[in-house]
C-alpha cells in the first residue's frame, strides 16, 4: 500500500486536493490554491496539542465532578446535585434506562475519551505496532461520541430557565457545570488535534 507521504504528496485538509512537496522559503506557508487552507503533511504539532488539551481537560474534570452542576431549591430548601449524584437521583426517579443513558453520556464518555486519546497519543509516541485498524476505529469513535456529554449541560440550561418560580421553586446553575462544559469543549479540541495518520506512520518506519 502506497501512501501520499511516501510519494512526496500532501493532501489538503480542506478539499483533499493533492500537492507535490517542494521546498519553500523560510517563514512562508504553502496554501491550497482551491480552498486556501494551509498545507501540512500531518496536522501541525499534533501530539503536543493533543496532550496540552488533554491535560487541561483532566485537571478540570476534578471540579466538574466535585462541584454541583446545579442546585434545585424547593420552598427555600436547596438540594445541590453533582454529575454522579444526578445519575443516582435518576435511578430513583426515572428508572434505570434514562439513568444508564446519563451514566454513559456524562461519566463513561468523558472518561473513555480522555483515556482513549491518551492511549492513542502514547501508542504513537512509543511507536506501538498494535493493531492500527483498531486504533483508527477507536479514534473515529472518540471523535463522534464527545458531543453526547453535553446532555447534562443542556438539561441544566433548560431547568434553570423553566424552574424559575421565585420562592416556590428555582434551579441555580453550579460551578461544576462550567467546569464540565469546559471538559467537553477541551476534549473535542483534543480529538480534533490528534492525527490518526500518525498511527500508520509508526507502522511503516519499523517495517
Amino acid at each position: 500500500m502506497t501512501t501520499a507521504a511516501q510519494l512526496g504528496l500532501v493532501s489538503c485538509e480542506g478539499c483533499r486536493r493533492l500537492y507535490r512537496v517542494a521546498p519553500i522559503s523560510a517563514g512562508t506557508q504553502a496554501r491550497c490554491t482551491l480552498c486556501g487552507c494551509a498545507l501540512h503533511a500531518r496536522k501541525p504539532d499534533s501530539l503536543r496539542r493533543t496532550w496540552a488539551l488533554l491535560i487541561a481537560a483532566l485537571i478540570l474534570y476534578v471540579p466538574a465532578n466535585a462541584y454541583p452542576v446545579m442546585t434545585i431549591i424547593f420552598s427555600g430548601k436547596g438540594a445541590p446535585s453533582t454529575i454522579l449524584g444526578g445519575v443516582i437521583e435518576l435511578f430513583d426517579a426515572g428508572g434505570w434506562p434514562i439513568a444508564l443513558l446519563i451514566l454513559f453520556a456524562s461519566v463513561a464518555v468523558p472518561l473513555a475519551k480522555m483515556v482513549g486519546l491518551a492511549f492513542l497519543a502514547l501508542s504513537v509516541e512509543r511507536r506501538s505496532q498494535w493493531n492500527p485498524r483498531k486504533r483508527t476505529r477507536m479514534y473515529k469513535i472518540i471523535a463522534v461520541i464527545g458531543r453526547w456529554s453535553m446532555i447534562d449541560m443542556f438539561m441544566v440550561s433548560i431547568l434553570v430557565a423553566i424552574v424559575h418560580l421565585g420562592a416556590i421553586a428555582t434551579v441555580e446553575p453550579g460551578l461544576g457545570a462550567m467546569a464540565f462544559a469546559a471538559v467537553v469543549v477541551l476534549t473535542i479540541f483534543a480529538a480534533e488535534s490528534f492525527d490518526p495518520r500518525l498511527v500508520w506512520d509508526s507502522m511503516e518506519h519499523d517495517q
Binding site: 453526547w148 446532555i151 443542556f154 495518520r197
Partner: protein
C-alpha cells in the same frame, strides 16, 4: 509546492494517508479504505439539490422551533414557559455567561449558521453559478459541523422532563414539535451535503 495537474485523479485516505485512484462511484455508493477501513468517499444522489431543499425547509422550521414555547413547567398554579434560547439567557443572568454562550452556540447559532451556509453554498451552484466567496463558506461550514448539537439537546430535554416530573407538571409546547422536525431536516441536510462534491464542482469551474 507545485500545482497538482495530473494529481487530480488521486485521492488520499484522511485517516491513514493511503493513496488511491479516485474511485468512480454511482450515486448512493461509498468506497472504503482497504488499509484502515474508514470511509474514503461517499457519493450521494444529487447532494446539492437535496441539501438545498432540506436547508430551506429547515430554515423555515427554525423560526417556530426557536420562538414558540419549547415547554413549560407548572407548579402550584403557576406556569413558567420557556424557549430554547431561554436557557442560555437564564444562565447568563445567573452569572454563567460562558456556559450560556456555549449552550446558545451549540443549540441555536451553529445549527442556524449551518443551514444558512448550506443555502448560500448550494443555491448558486444549483443555478450553475460559482460565486467568488464560496470556498470560504465551505471551509467555514466544515469547521462548524461538529458544533451543531440539536440531537444532543433533544436528549437533554428528555432528561429534564423526567427529572422534573416528580416536582411539577412539564408540558411540551409547539416549539418542541417544530424542533423535532427541524432536527430531522438539519440532519438530512447535513447528510446530503458532501463537501467533496462541492469541491469537485468548484474545481471544475475554474
Amino acid at each position: 509546492m507545485l500545482d497538482p495537474g495530473d494529481l487530480h485523479t488521486l485521492l488520499a485516505c484522511t485517516d491513514c494517508d493511503a493513496l488511491y485512484e479516485r474511485p468512480a462511484l454511482t450515486p448512493g455508493d461509498s468506497a472504503r479504505c482497504t488499509r484502515c477501513g474508514s470511509v474514503l468517499l461517499r457519493n450521494r444522489p444529487d447532494p446539492i439539490g437535496h441539501a438545498l431543499a432540506y436547508s430551506i425547509a429547515g430554515l423555515i422550521l427554525f423560526v417556530p422551533a426557536n420562538f414558540f414555547t419549547y415547554f413549560s413547567f407548572g407548579l402550584q398554579g403557576r406556569v413558567q414557559p420557556s424557549t430554547i434560547t431561554g436557557g442560555a439567557r437564564a444562565l447568563a443572568e445567573a452569572g454563567y455567561a460562558p456556559l450560556g454562550a456555549l449552550i446558545f452556540f451549540t443549540s441555536v447559532l451553529a445549527p442556524l449558521l449551518t443551514l444558512l451556509l448550506t443555502l448560500c453554498i448550494c443555491l448558486p451552484l444549483k443555478l450553475g453559478r460559482v460565486l467568488p466567496g464560496t470556498r470560504r463558506l465551505v471551509i467555514f461550514y466544515m469547521r462548524l459541523m461538529p458544533w451543531g448539537m440539536l440531537s444532543v439537546y433533544l436528549l437533554g430535554a428528555m432528561v429534564a422532563i423526567i427529572k422534573m416530573g416528580d416536582y411539577g407538571r412539564m408540558e411540551l409546547g409547539h416549539g418542541f414539535y417544530a424542533f423535532l422536525v427541524l432536527l430531522l431536516l438539519a440532519t438530512k441536510a447535513q447528510a446530503s451535503l458532501q463537501p467533496d462534491a462541492i469541491w469537485r464542482q468548484l474545481e471544475a469551474a475554474r
